[in-house]
Symmetry: C2
Subunit: 107 residues, 2 copies
């Protein structure tokens, strides 16, 4: 049988984006790094929850962080993460446009 471990790893990267809080985090970090505390304020997510989401994103390789004193700064691990994020949004846009067409035809 064919080896499917590549599909598994590939899906793991996709999973790192597959949550609305994580999408919001990528949106915030798209062009600049932010500390944990800043992300906390912007998102309004409880800190333990936010920490877990950031941890998942780090493990899956889509974020990196550095510690400076008490603060931890997070950013995208590569511009490719934003490209992937962006293409997903394009797919969403296309889907919404198609739905608009459908509604127009119903009227």
């Amino acid at each position: 049988m064919k080896d499917k471990s590549l599909f598994k790893m590939h899906a793991d990267v996709c999973k790192a984006l597959a949550h609305s809080i994580r999408i919001e985090i990528i949106d915030i970090l798209k062009d600049k790094e932010k500390s944990f505390g800043e992300l906390l304020k912007i998102t309004g997510v409880p800190k333990s929850n936010l920490s877990q989401h950031l941890s998942v994103m780090n493990q899956k390789g889509i974020l990196i962080h550095r510690k400076e004193g008490l603060r931890v700064y997070h950013k995208l691990s590569s511009p490719k993460v934003y490209n992937a994020f962006y293409m997903m949004r394009e797919v969403l846009k296309e889907r919404i446009l198609k739905q608009k067409e459908l509604i127009k035809n119903i009227k």
Copy 2:
């Protein structure tokens, strides 16, 4: 508070890719349509399970299908789906390369 429904929809599209079987399906459909039966043979996934995964992908707007006689043919809803798939794989590649570097430095 800020409206987060866009993040939710965006994450839903990502979720459609976030499973190894669904990644495999996109890989198979990247450049041609296939019938359910062909997908069944290629993937080896039980038919009820395959049908459910295809259903999820249809609902999330990343696949479309047409029926012809007894057969159902599936394909990507847009080339953008493959672009998104591809960028995810690029992120994975980058991560693997970084891990290789780390191992090299350990030696």
